[in-house]
């Protein structure tokens, strides 16, 4: 009798813990639901900023703060990234020593494809970013890889984004591919996990703290975060890649920052860009 009682208690305990787990917002491979996450994030911002248009989130803080927007529109009347796009086009069209070029490495000759990056490469078992493929293209043609953060790689990436403007982001997590889902989940966890001496998560500032002042700065909403990269940042005085920004942000939490194109950063980009599915490419952008 006692055995039956114990088994019953044990079973009910087991069942109740499973119930608790299933009620959690998708933090395990079994429970994570990217599409539900995307809708939840959209709903969050819809509630937080009822006047902002969903499509406008590609413009970051300028979607939700009118004062900053006026300054930014003035800045955009002579876009600071214009010369970089031109230089990017020149670099993109310059043939390698072997006579081949970037156009030979990408689908559609590399034109109008930004919205498909980053993507899950099943064969390689990892997330691939556009910058990563730019360098892989160079190396497979006997050229030296470029540095990740700024300069030529950002300019080439800017030109490729420029040719993709207004194309809708379409990041896929292939169904039944556990590796892809695990990469997404890893990115999601990085986004929501507190880190560093300052104990900050990305979400601290860019979800719960969005459009609230940190000294005189306003933290941008995370929705649409990756759409406008590479970005000409006034603080940098030049163009830089998304991973340069990730590294800086990571360092600002007083963490030992990961290197650019580190697997975790690529997974973060995968997660963030998936969140932006349905929004358009508007890179390169300009930001304060």
């Amino acid at each position: 009798m006692k055995i039956i009682k114990n088994i019953t208690i044990g079973l009910s305990l087991l069942m109740s813990t499973q119930l608790v787990f299933s009620a959690q917002p998708g933090t395990t491979l079994a429970s994570v639901n990217p599409e539900a996450d995307r809708m939840a994030l959209q709903q969050f911002f819809k509630k937080r900023f009822p006047d902002a248009e969903l499509a406008d989130y590609v413009n970051g803080i300028y979607a939700v703060d009118a004062d900053s927007r006026t300054q930014w529109e003035d800045l955009e009347s002579f876009p600071p990234y214009e010369f970089d796009v031109e230089e990017g086009e020149r670099l993109f069209k310059t043939a390698f020593a072997n006579g081949k070029g970037y156009a030979d490495c990408f689908e559609k000759g590399g034109i109008g494809i930004r919205q498909n990056f980053p993507y899950w490469d099943k064969k390689a078992g990892t997330v691939k970013t556009l910058e990563q493929e730019i360098n892989e293209c160079r190396e497979s043609n006997g050229e030296k890889p470029l540095k990740w953060g700024k300069g030529p790689i950002a300019q080439i990436s800017a030109y490729m984004a420029w040719t993709s403007r207004d194309n809708v982001f379409d990041i896929k997590i292939p169904e039944g591919d556990e590796g892809a889902l695990a990469a997404y989940l890893d990115g999601k966890k990085f986004f929501y996990t507190k880190r560093g001496q300052l104990n900050l998560s990305c979400a601290n500032c860019h979800v719960q703290g969005s459009n609230v002042r940190i000294r005189a700065d306003l933290a941008s909403p995370s929705l649409g975060h990756t759409s406008h990269f590479p970005v000409f940042r006034s603080k940098w005085g030049e163009l830089g890649t998304l991973h340069r920004r990730y590294k800086g942000c990571h360092k600002d939490s007083r963490s030992q920052p990961l290197g650019m194109q580190h697997e975790t950063f690529r997974n973060l980009e995968y997660f963030q860009t998936y969140m932006s599915n349905g929004l358009v490419v508007n890179g390169p952008g300009s930001r304060k």
């Binding site: 001496q197 300052l198 900050l200 998560s201 601290n204 002042r213 940190i214 000294r215």
Partner: protein
Amino acid sequence: MRKLTTSMCAAGLLALIVTTPATAMTTQEAVAEGKAVYMGKSRGNCISCHQINDPDANLAGNQGPPMVAMAQRFPDKRMLRAQVWDASKNNPITIMPPLGKHWILSEEEIDAVVEYIYQF
């Protein structure tokens, strides 16, 4: 021998009297130090998130609550100190860094900044 002991005791006493005032801060000094901690970007940088009615606090942020009615909000000053030391204890997803727990400020700096904000 006894003379030696006496003189050593006297010297010790003298040293105690001379050095004590140098290490203990007066409230006024603590407030001034606390203000420097509050405003300093590489120190507490409290100003980045908390408004305060101090004429030297320009462009304070508002991620956290403003520093008003502190004595009413925290009748027990130790509760305020605990909040500065580790705000994540009360709210695990708070944006506020755990200034004591993560050794961002020293215990003395936390004492000082608590003295400073407790006036408001």
